[in-house]
Amino acid sequence: MSVQQVLPLNGLASEQSGPFRADHLLVAEMVKPGSKVLDVGCGDGDLLQLLETRGIDGRGIELSREGVNRCVAKGLAVVQGDADTDLVNYPDDAFDYVILSQTLQATRQPKVVLENLLRIGRRAIVSFPNFGFWRMRLQLLVGGHMPRTENLPASWYDTANIHFCTIKDFVELCDEIHVKMERAEALDLYGRPLRLRLPWWVWNLFGEQGVFLLSRGQGK
């Protein structure tokens, strides 16, 4: 996905521990060593490189040709493809984890994509910007215009992000399609987890993004 362009997360640069992004470190922490992972919308392959350092067999799909070629030039197993159309080509249970990092909101059919993630992978890790974040709400309430932040700087007319949701919305979708949430984290503006066990409504207000570890629930 070319989501990297609309979600530069540049503000994180000074907050990184080592060369890796804080949200990537959190995702990597959720993956068991030695597993097989597909990163959907892998951008320049930073997360895949991080996973590789931990002995994880990582593969990637990326929409933009430039992103794919940069990944392949790093020796990563990445193919050009579209989350909306190409996930159907993967067999059931092909991966231990399928990761969708900051890409869900750019897909045409988030629900179908989510279902495919949990068909291909035994678990899915999904992260997305939370539109319930207080600064988003404030911009709409007080400013009267569609919210724009450091991490989501594009205007409504040129953003690739077409399906924004809040943490609350996402939790409801997971319930609706019987997806089990094994772990949930809300991250602050700097990509650091809000480590406190807080009620959903607090996360929905103070989480800049949500990161969820999902598995197939009952009835699936």
């Binding site: 593969r59 794919v68 070629n69 392949v72 030039a73 790093k74 020796g75 193919v79 993967y90």
Partner: protein
């Protein structure tokens, strides 16, 4: 780009290199040769056992102690084993010196590189231009029709002969890419990594059509004599040159032709109002045709184009491409070029989908260039970066000592 020469006649000129040079290479190549006697026939798809036969090949670099650094390069339709040395007939540099050589992605200081002339070829491996030992005469059309799997089977026998069990990489573009894919389908455990460039798992109807055009041009030349021209000491060079000219157009792109030639005139200001090569693009094509016939045998061209036409991996596996690669552990890198209309990106994408469905480890890059199918033979830095990174990453996984290469 090859220098454009003025070609001063309305017809394709006669070759300047003698037919003797070419026919000498056919049976006595200036490279290593592996001979396979009656005890080791080549089982052909058409049902015939070809025996005896020989494979002409070149090697570069040295095989390491645990025999894990061997790379097989598969050449394209009109290529040969002289991948990185001066060509014995034309005197030109090797055809893939952009990729193979010191400091290149395929560095002989790091890998043991093998390139063999395909069976059916005319640079020393047994083909229609070779002497048929049963008759003492040139095979001509008595040579059995061969396929891409036949070529690969012969290569596997050569690799056995060289004492190599698993190839670190099999690399090739176009028809060479078809051989790479056939290697992975037929001998998955013998191929650690596969670099398949500008190719397809099957030859398209349009490509078969272009090949038929070329073959008809050869056969329409009165010097062809139903393939028995060698007996008469002649070569259907006009027909073969036309075939090459038509094929060469398919290797380029409209944008590349415009960029290189546009509508510019060749050594003149005004049209001559004749069928002379007024335009640079005409002169260029005539040069391509005439230089090709100096080094290539007409019947060999018929056989090799036919082999490509028959290629269809899915058909050999019950119609399902994914079945051909089920459970494969080979690391794949698939590369296509945006302006290649002979083997378009859609063909590579179909291959990648099948590999994904087999859970194979695959990288797939489409490289933006206006240089058409031939881009894989040209100086395209992004392609080299990707090839180098893929081979280095595979080398690391294979435990090859990482001399910078």
């Amino acid at each position: 780009m090859v220098g454009v020469k003025s070609v001063p006649s309305p017809t394709v000129p006669s070759p300047t290199i003698s037919a003797d040079d070419r026919s000498h290479e056919v049976d006595h190549p200036s490279s290593e040769v592996a001979l396979f006697g009656a005890e080791q026939p080549l089982r052909l798809d058409c049902g015939i056992d070809l025996t005896p036969f020989q494979i002409a090949y070149k090697t570069y670099g040295e095989l390491n102690a645990d025999r894990s650094n061997a790379v097989l390069i598969c050449h394209a339709l009109t290529g040969d084993q002289h991948v990185a040395n001066v060509h014995p007939v034309t005197g030109k540099p090797g055809w893939w010196e952009t990729l193979v050589g010191p400091g290149r992605p395929l560095d002989p200081g790091k890998y043991f590189i093998i390139c063999s002339n395909v069976i059916g070829g005319c640079m020393g491996s047994t083909g229609p231009a070779s002497i048929n030992p049963a008759t003492g005469k040139v095979w001509g059309l008595d040579f059995p029709v061969i396929t891409i799997p036949d070529m690969v089977r012969a290569q596997a026998m050569l690799i056995d002969r060289l004492g190599i069990d698993t190839l670190f990489a099999v690399v090739g573009g176009s028809m060479g890419g078809m051989q790479v894919l056939q290697w992975t389908a037929a001998y998955p455990s013998r191929v650690y990594s596969a670099l398949a460039i500008a190719c397809s798992t099957r030859h398209s109807a349009q490509n078969i059509a272009f090949h038929e055009l070329g073959r008809q041009a050869v056969m329409a030349d009165p010097d062809w004599h139903n393939g028995a021209y060698a007996d008469q000491g002649i070569h259907p060079h006009r027909g073969l040159a036309v075939a090459r000219m038509a094929a060469h157009i398919t290797y380029l792109s409209d944008a590349a032709l415009h960029r290189k030639f546009g509508r510019r005139m060749q050594d003149r200001e005004l049209p001559t109002f004749s069928f002379d090569a007024d335009f640079q693009v005409e002169s260029y094509l005539r040069y391509q045709g005439s230089s090709f016939v100096e080094r290539f045998d007409a019947n060999s061209y018929l056989y090799l184009t036919r082999a490509m036409d028959y290629f269809d991996i899915a058909a050999d596996h019950g119609g399902a491409l994914a079945k051909a690669f089920a459970g494969i552990e080979t690391r794949f890198c698939v590369v296509s070029f945006t302006s290649d209309w002979l083997f378009p990106t859609s063909e590579s994408r179909a291959l990648v989908h099948a590999l994904n469905a087999s859970s194979a480890r695959v990288s797939f890059a489409e490289i933006e260039t206006d240089r058409g199918h031939d881009a894989f033979l040209l100086d395209v830095p992004e392609f080299f970066d990707i090839s180098r990174a893929f081979l280095q990453s595979a080398g690391k996984a294979r435990g090859l000592t990482n001399k910078d290469g």
